[in-house]
């Protein structure tokens, strides 16, 4: 999983940085349409902000709705995750 050209230390540093950037930007990311989550993952071997969306994105109606490709130098990856439910379908009561 970990790319060989990056040491554990570098990854740890990038991870800590990503956590800091996530904290600053998560509220504005979560406010965008279709966004249901923000986390930290690996994209192409680099630490990335992962933006979780319910369904594939349509063309944004307002410039503000656009999810940036990177934030403060950290790549942003959009992942379609579907509808997230506690316990899935069993919670729909009979």
């Amino acid at each position: 999983m970990m790319p060989e050209d990056k040491s554990q230390d570098e990854l740890q540093l990038a991870y800590t940085n990503a956590l800091r950037i996530k904290k600053i930007h998560e509220a504005s990311l979560m406010a965008k349409p279709n966004v249901i989550g923000v986390g930290i993952g690996l994209a192409a071997g680099s630490v990335a902000l992962v933006v979780l969306v319910e369904k594939p994105l349509e063309k944004p109606k307002k410039p503000n709705d656009q999810i940036p490709g990177e934030i403060e130098g950290i790549p942003v990856e959009i992942r379609v995750i579907g509808e997230v439910k506690a316990n899935n379908s069993f919670l729909e009561r009979p």
């Binding site: 989550g37 923000v38 986390g39 979780l52 995750i81 506690a86 009979p94």
Partner: protein, 335 residues
């Protein structure tokens, strides 16, 4: 013909009729037990999972006292293990089988944990499995199997709700007044419901953030539960989560499944059944490894018997877990 041969012959003649009775799961021959003592009297034995009083049986369901001159006996053997499904009744009940508050559908018994202060063994699962999404009273009946698997209070109660971390739905409009009332109440007290210890403020309120969907139930008797997780084993201690980690879980619906950790430190909105959505912080996401009814499963490291998370939500593309240490700290229990 010897007495034993005679009994065997009568058994063969009546076997099908006995097996056709609703509670009989086997037929054999042996010696009659009277008042708890074995006798020398050869008899036909009907095997049942659970003995019932005569008064609870309709006449055709009863095993006749005598068949063609040979006495009968009814012997209770419980549920043969190899035939048990996770949605069946298990005694003792291990992790990975159906369980739930008496008003819900069903979830999964995660594993046994121990009260930090007393060492008492408690059942770990989700708030939405054991505490009906805050809509429960401490001491409420927990049934194994869960209600959708025909678990009933009279026959299948295994534990009582001991404590839970309330889920804070914040300012999202509640669908019913009761839910609204509960949310307001919980906003006031915050933290853990049911602990005898000082309440820890785990829910700072502005963003209505949650960290866990967790609850614990106290078994009615220690012998009703098992420390093991079905098809995994007995888990000790916790392991910090990492990207790419191989993990597994044992759950009521999909059984033993494996996955890989894909996203960490996740902030995510999770839908509950009545239109309410809860915001969770610092969650773990894996590749899809669950379906409805698996909630409450313990997430276990793929290569050791250490716990990683508590399964509580999912989508077609992912499964979502609370970090296990946060669950244990919040409920004031150890693993």
């Amino acid at each position: 013909m010897s007495v034993q041969d005679e009994v065997r012959k009568v058994k063969e003649t009546n076997k099908e009729a006995l097996m056709a009775k609703p509670n009989v799961i086997g037929v054999g021959t042996g010696y009659k037990t009277r008042a708890g003592h074995a006798t020398a009297e050869a008899c036909i034995i009907a095997l049942v999972s659970r003995k019932m009083p005569m008064s609870a049986l309709i006449e055709t369901a009863m095993v006749p006292i005598e068949l063609d001159g040979v006495v009968t006996d009814v012997v209770e053997i419980g549920f043969p293990r190899t035939q048990l499904a996770r949605s069946d009744k298990w005694r003792p009940a291990p992790g990975g089988v159906s369980i739930g508050h008496y008003k819900i559908t069903t979830g999964t018994l995660g594993c046994l944990v121990r009260d930090q202060a007393t060492g008492q063994r408690l059942i770990l699962s989700n708030n939405h499995v054991l505490a009906n999404v805050n809509d429960a009273v401490l001491g409420d009946a927990i049934v194994q199997p869960g209600p959708i698997d025909n678990g009933q209070i009279e026959s299948d109660k295994i534990a009582e709700l001991e404590r839970y971390a309330p889920i804070n739905f914040g300012t999202a409009p509640a669908q019913c007044n009761i839910a609204k009332g509960v949310a307001v109440l919980l906003n006031g007290v915050a933290g853990l419901i049911g602990s005898s210890h000082r309440l820890q403020a785990v829910q700072q309120d502005e963003k209505a953030a949650n960290w866990v969907d967790a609850a614990a139930a106290r078994p009615l008797d220690d012998a009703l539960v098992s420390d093991e997780i079905y098809e995994i084993g007995t888990v000790h201690g916790v392991k910090p989560v990492e990207f790419g980690m191989s993990v597994r879980k044992s759950g009521r619906t999909t059984g033993l499944t494996t996955g890989t950790i894909s996203v960490l430190n996740v902030t995510i909105n999770v839908d509950y059944y009545d239109g309410r959505s809860g915001r969770f912080e610092d969650q773990i996401i894996s590749t899809p490894m669950s379906q409805g009814g698996d909630s409450g499963s313990l997430l276990v490291d793929g290569s050791s018997l250490q716990a990683v998370g508590l399964l509580f939500a999912g989508s077609d593309q992912s499964t979502i877990f609370n970090p296990i240490q946060k669950v244990l700290d919040t409920l004031k229990v150890t693993l």
